[in-house]
Subunit: 325 residues, 2 copies
């Protein structure tokens, strides 16, 4: 474990990342953990500003998340969506009746001129979330998926509407050049007690890269004394959730934990101090080490709450060891 | 009954008016009935443009209306509202999960630049409504309630949030001077086959007056060859729904069917050719006649669908008799 006086910064996308975030929140006091959620997935739909990753993390921390799917709310109902269908509205994005309240409140407050980070703070307060959850930015960044067909898709069109079916040739983040970190994200990076930066097991391309590419974030993290540790979202060659493995194959990378480590080493040289692989990928640890990262091989598949807490403990202990190294 | 070749224009507010509208829709072919709904009650709430009277009539015609309350949808659920409450949102206006789809679609289409009458047409098509339902205007008119305390309230604040409790000193329609009838309303008034203008049993002050005060509507109707008939929303001194009787008392008018007839005669001289009173108010018929209107005394309380059909038949027959007179 990192010392109790040290704080932790966690970077997360949606479902996979949120699992480790929940584990970390069980291990760390409220003022010792800042969670930064990707907002590159955010999009405007039916007049709402929808922030899927932010909501998944928020619902997970509030113990509202659907345990089966990992996203949306438990006990969700779909009366709105049925009525919307009858009215000929767009129903490809699943908007549950409860979930809708989040989108209505957020959109209404944003329209009044509030910043996304302020609205997120208020929502988290209403849901009794103690740890700091912040969007990566208050500006608009939109992840675009470049398909091998030449088509460019808004992320949710690729991810939800088209079920990740199009083969991709790349991705980009529209608006990122003029976007800034939100104040809470910058504060966490400047915290003199920062003892660990943890990149949760989220999609390296579309969940983590938008956060790292924001401003001088990757540079700041690379230069930071605190160890930067990524947990592989790929286990035994497959992504536990989402299109990461499929994307790697299409981008001509090996779909493996090592492939993820290589990608980070290539795109963000010197960023990662540690890399966490699942037991199933133990054989890749030596090659990871050769990339200049310290490997940690533990169980990373989180099916239960104790799994999440155990991985959080393992990662925090790893950070502490890297600090002392 | 008016001749089958003749068409009918009905003016309606919410629940009470919608009952007679439904009856009329059972008696008249789709192309022979235009229903104009009051939009003075419309308001912006949580980022939505909400049109309570239009929706009540629409749901009633689509057989979706809750039969108990007369407003909202049957089998409605309230998951959204519970979640909204948890998030600290405004919950004084009841937004059901199904109902919400209407507000989302309407607001989204209005924001794209569509006119309210176009959006209403599209919604009605989706709901298989055959008769023409139009908002009184595509412009914004807002009914304001002037309280005896000096306070001025937006209509839904008075009606829903404050349960009609404040004593009123008057009412006004903000924006009405620059508002125009929507095209469908003007077309119905110009229809050479127009054989009856029926003012449904709706609140004369806040449901009917906004429609009549729009443009030269009252003048056009007064000069029109087709008979103009109002059905009293007051029966035996009480309003079957809503604050009409309470308002009359506060405005120093007798809370009676005769009081309604006197109000119309005073505010819109010569407008009404016929006035329909309930059997309970038969004794007021002579005084109504003295105002220059032909009285019709029939059962106006509509508790069942056959009641609605019967009142519609009675009113259409009355119109036909007035035409021949």
């Amino acid at each position: 474990m990192i010392a109790a006086t040290k704080s932790c910064l966690a970077i997360s996308g949606g479902v996979g990342g949120a699992k480790l975030v929940l584990g970390l929140s069980c291990q760390l006091q409220a003022d010792k953990l800042t969670i930064v959620a990707n907002t590159g997935d955010d999009f405007d739909h039916l007049g709402f500003t929808i922030c899927p990753d932010l909501d998944t993390v928020m619902y997970t921390l509030a113990d509202l998340a659907d345990r089966e799917s990992g996203w949306g709310q438990t006990g969700e109902t779909w009366q709105f969506l049925s009525a919307l269908e009858q009215l000929g509205g767009d129903t490809w994005f699943q908007l549950g009746d409860k979930d809708l309240a989040t989108h209505v409140v957020r959109s209404s407050e944003l329209n009044k001129g509030k910043l996304l980070s302020q609205v997120t703070h208020d929502l988290c307060q209403s849901l009794n979330i103690k740890h700091k959850l912040v969007p990566m930015t208050d500006d608009r960044v939109a992840t675009l998926i470049h398909c091998q067909s030449g088509e460019v898709l808004a992320f949710q069109h690729y991810f939800v509407r088209d079920h990740c079916e199009p083969a991709i040739s790349g991705y980009s983040f529209s608006g990122i050049d003029s976007a800034n970190r939100c104040p809470g994200f910058s504060r966490a990076l400047q915290d003199p007690d920062l003892g660990a930066i943890i990149i949760c097991p989220s999609n390296p391309f579309v969940s983590v890269a938008p956060v790292l590419d924001l401003d001088d974030t990757a540079e700041l993290m690379t230069e930071h004394a605190a160890p930067v540790i990524a947990v592989s979202p790929i286990v035994a060659g497959v992504a536990l959730k989402g299109p990461a493995a499929k994307m790697m194959a299409e981008l001509n990378m090996p779909s493996s934990a090592l492939g993820v480590a290589e990608y980070y080493a290539d795109r963000y040289p010197g960023l990662l101090d540690g890399f966490v692989l699942d037991l199933a990928d133990a054989s890749e640890a030596i090659a990871v080490q050769a990339l200049g990262m310290v490997p940690l091989v533990v169980k990373t598949v989180m099916t239960s709450l104790p799994d999440r807490q155990q991985l959080a403990k393992d990662v925090l202990k790893f950070a502490s060891e890297l600090c002392q190294a």
